[in-house]
Symmetry: C2
Subunit: 237 residues, 2 copies
């Protein structure tokens, strides 16, 4: 929960060589614009559990996630937590119209971000409708994901929740790093519980049950999807 105090190093490597550019907002930019953007951003690194920004903090920056995974969550006054999403490389964070962040974001494992001052980024956007369109696209995709998640939270059983989560998470990783049967789970069981609206015990029990039923194999830090068809049936029904 420490807050990083470093300003970050300038973007050294040209944005044109950025590995996740095609997934990020920057996909909308041409070479000249990328070079311009290089001067505005700073690379910052966070270690596991460090907070990138907190709920109610002023929104001074926007962030482009380069590497690692982040949890985005809201806390109720009494400590109950709801994780509203996990961010992966290419995700664009801190885009909000309000003066304060409406959720907190912290690192799950080591994280690298590209940080931009909100004002300078806003100025950069101003005459670039294609970039604005790209940002809009990402926001709408995020909204659609949020709506899907509402269905999950409001109307699905624990088993359905877990199965759906594993499949969706796998799909996002496949998108990024290509096909693979084994699904890394860098987040803790508590994180998964707080994402799915369950308790850690129920998540653990459900994992165990899925393993007993030979749907998944549990490994430290990951699971292996053994019976995708059955998992999909659980997630769909």
């Amino acid at each position: 929960m420490k807050i990083s105090l470093v300003a970050g190093e300038p973007i050294g490597q040209p944005c044109a060589d950025c590995g996740i550019r095609c997934f990020s907002v920057c996909a909308a930019l041409d070479k000249a614009e990328l070079r311009e953007l290089e001067h505005l951003g700073r690379h910052i690194h966070f270690v596991s559990c460090e907070t990138v920004f907190g709920q109610e903090e002023l929104t001074t920056s926007v962030y482009n996630l380069l590497e690692g995974v982040m949890r985005l969550y809201k806390l109720l006054p009494d400590g109950r937590r709801q994780i509203v999403g996990f961010a992966l490389p290419g995700d664009f964070l801190g885009m909000t119209t309000s003066a304060r962040h409406s959720f907190s974001a912290d690192a799950i494992g080591a994280v690298a971000v590209c940080r931009f001052s909100r004002t300078s980024f806003a100025r950069f956007i101003e005459d670039k409708p294609h970039l604005l369109r790209r940002i809009n696209e990402l926001a709408i995709r995020e909204l659609s994901r949020a709506q899907d998640h509402m269905v999950l939270l409001g109307r699905r059983s624990a088993e359905e929740k877990v199965a759906t989560f594993l499949l969706n998470w796998r799909d996002r990783l496949v998108q990024l790093r290509g096909p693979a049967n084994t699904v890394p789970l860098p987040m803790s069981r508590q994180d998964i519980a707080d994402f799915l609206g369950l308790t850690i015990e129920t998540v653990s029990r459900t994992f165990t049950k899925l393993e007993r039923d030979r749907v998944i194999g549990i490994q430290p830090g990951s699971v292996c999807l053994l019976d995708t068809a059955r998992a999909e049936a659980m997630a769909a029904a």
Copy 2:
């Protein structure tokens, strides 16, 4: 659940006189642009429970809600329903990047919308970054609402859910029509249940309990907030 087959009448009244313009996307437009827009849109009316567009239907149009209330919902194959939101005048619907709608929308009571063909609206936007920015703004507001709702669905008790719903709904109506203690509830108990991730019985019981506790007064089609402070305490905690 009938589908309206009428093409709709042309927008007669000038958009400049539109009562909800300041709440809608059109707030971003100047007089000349409004006049241009008048030629692109059609007014369409729907009666109660008519479907404006359905999940999986092709996204041929976008809609500006002028009058009335709509429920936006997703259905699971087995019939479980999650209402992802209620739309009020000024809300902009059908904005999606995908070819098909990801949820259904139907009228709660009589509804009037301004419909635009998706392609002609896209063309209209093209050289109007201020409009795009406005759309982006609405999308981000919607996303933020969705995230709040995830917390409600995942982490709150039935009583908290109902209290929060009543307060939020009141706030949206106040925004639109000014202060009032009595909160109209045009949607059914089943709608409220499907919005809050509860059953109709639990919603009904919770309403009754809040009435017994003198927090609300139940009237046909509306409730009266008697003890706002206590309701807010329930919603916050």
